[in-house]
Amino acid sequence: MSSAISSQLRTPGTWLAVAGFVVIGGAGLALPQWQFLVSVALSKGIVALGLALLLRTGLASFGQALFFAVGAYCVGLGMNDYGLTELFALLAISMLVSAALAFVLGFLLARYRDIFFAMLTLALSMICYGLLLNNVELGGSDGFNVNAPTLGSSAEPWQLTGTNLFAVGLIAAIVCVMGVALYMRSTPGRLGPAIKDNEIRVEYLGTSARANIHLTYVIAGALAGLGGALQAFNIGHIDPDMAFWTTSGEFVFIAVLSGTRFAFSPFIGALLLEVARAMAYRYAPNTWQIVMGAIMLAIIAFLPGGLTSLGLGRRKPAAAHPVTQTKTATDAA
């Protein structure tokens, strides 16, 4: 058993993840002025990680911001209304509440595909946005501030700020990547791309596509909740814009840019996006979305598998779906 796992771990994806996290961790520890930026990228990467799982299954959720906001508001409410500051408790609550919400919504959403899935997830997150915007107890449109979380239950708990908080984000990201990498190799994980390819075939193999999509959606929801909780700590402030559809769009952007080949992929996209944004704010505040949009078009056109489909490990799979390819040929004629 253990040898099987260790042989499975010696793949390009593992090396990529190890190298990536060493670089990210090194950069964050050595360059304190980059810590905030990298922390934000890690939180968004965790959200995009869940979205990547959905994209592997052929589903684009334009509503991951719903769980992102729910996770963040769990932290805010836990702190402000219940005086809870314990890091692990807050992270666990955020993940559990998001997962529970995703589980309930999943009964509805697992029936939908393509555009209808995207639209319904978008509608649900906009309902959440409207609720948060109108709820005075939750801070209305201004939102509210979030304090630093603490670790340890002694009389003087440890306040997590700066480098400590960065380390929390890094560890959370590593754990998530490991978990998702293992999931992607498990039977339900392998069913994702199969459903994308041909759902009927999956059903004939004797398993339920709907149940698998439901499971994937719950995992993606929990990850987005975790990302939202971490983001609340990073920024120290939460507001309804976390649930707005453009926030979801950003996560979709990260996932598409990165590709879905490896569990680590989304962090490459998230990091690039944050660096690009930081540069853009300084040099080109009004044109950076043009650059982003153009990059996204180029990726979709030339690298359908995302950035991580570039020359890592075996070349073959990623874009080659015989069914869609023949369709393209006839339709483009």
Partner: protein, 298 residues
């Protein structure tokens, strides 16, 4: 009692405006099977083009009746040109791929358009309200409405009826319906499908731009106006059934009335009542209320 009238009139006016913008979105989906996220940007583009043309015209004391024509003219030119560039330059290359891929392509176009508009027009708001106040008000009982809103209702009716008549009675309209029904067979029958695609996309873009141009005098035209309307028009066309003209009309009316009722009876619910309706409709009828039947291909 007057509150019910107020809800009805407000609802219908809002619905007409929504319908005008959503019409192009559902038309483009019906023909090209693309859910265009950049539709809101085309709407904003129309608004900017409109104020750019009538701003100096109004400032020089030009005839205000002509300003309405200028608004529409600006929208047709701007929407048509950018629609042509988008379809021929970019969308054309992605036909036949997954609907989700095309959704992402239009999302990228949306990002590009948002900044392109800021580059051309800057980030300061533009306000040209003369055409709005010029038409005066209309008294309905003890309520007073700007006549300009009736103008938008009129334009929406003309656009809706015109498009329906075009599809039903003209030769090109019938051919277009054939393309909608079955792209491949139409092509085999000698219909120039790609030409219908580009013209339809341009028409959709022009409709969005006209919606924006006619809205321009009633608001201050500023960055972000396209972001707000994207999801709103999505709600309308998804409720009605993507690609269905009567569906878009029904969806707009439903959203308009729900929003107007919310404004009058439950102000906090204004924003999300619309999405609750959308989620409820989708939960019961996954493809919307008037979803066109699709022939099963084997």
């Amino acid at each position: 009692m007057s509150q019910i009238y107020a809800v009805l009139v407000d609802g219908v006016m809002y619905a007409a405006w929504l319908f005008l913008v959503a019409l192009g979105l559902t038309l483009v989906y019906g023909v090209l099977k693309i859910l265009n996220m950049a539709h809101g940007s085309l709407y904003a583009l129309g608004a900017y083009a409109g104020v750019t043309l009538i701003g100096p015209w109004v400032a020089q004391g030009g005839n205000l009746y002509v300003s309405y024509l200028l608004l529409v003219l600006a929208a047709i030119v701007a929407g048509g040109a950018i629609g042509f560039i988008m379809e021929r330059g970019i969308l054309k290359r992605f036909y036949g791929q997954d609907p989700v891929v095309l959704l992402l392509v239009t999302y990228a176009l949306f990002l590009i358009m948002e900044d392109a508009i800021k580059l051309v027009w800057g980030v300061d708001p533009y306000t040209v309200s003369e055409p709005y106040s010029f038409l005066g008000n209309f008294d309905l009982g003890d309520l007073s409405y700007p006549n300009y809103n009736f103008l938008i209702v009129g334009v929406a009716l003309v656009a809706g009826i015109g498009l329906t008549a075009f599809l039903k009675f003209t030769r090109s309209g019938r051919l277009l319906r054939a393309v909608i029904h079955d792209r491949e067979v139409s092509q085999a029958m000698g219909i120039r499908v790609s030409r219908y695609f580009v013209v339809t996309f341009m028409a959709g873009a022009v409709l969005a731009a006209i919606g924006g141009a006619l809205t321009a005098p009633t608001v201050s035209v500023a960055p972000g106006m396209g972001v707000e309307i994207v999801v709103l028009t999505f709600a309308v066309v998804v409720i009605g059934g993507l690609g269905s003209l009567p569906g878009a009309a029904f969806g707009a009316l439903l959203v308009g009335l729900v929003r107007a009722s919310a404004v009058h009876y439950w102000p906090q619910g204004e924003l999300f009542s619309i999405y609750i309706v959308m989620a409820l409709v989708l939960a019961v009828r996954p493809k919307g209320i008037f979803a066109p039947l699709e022939a099963r291909k084997i």
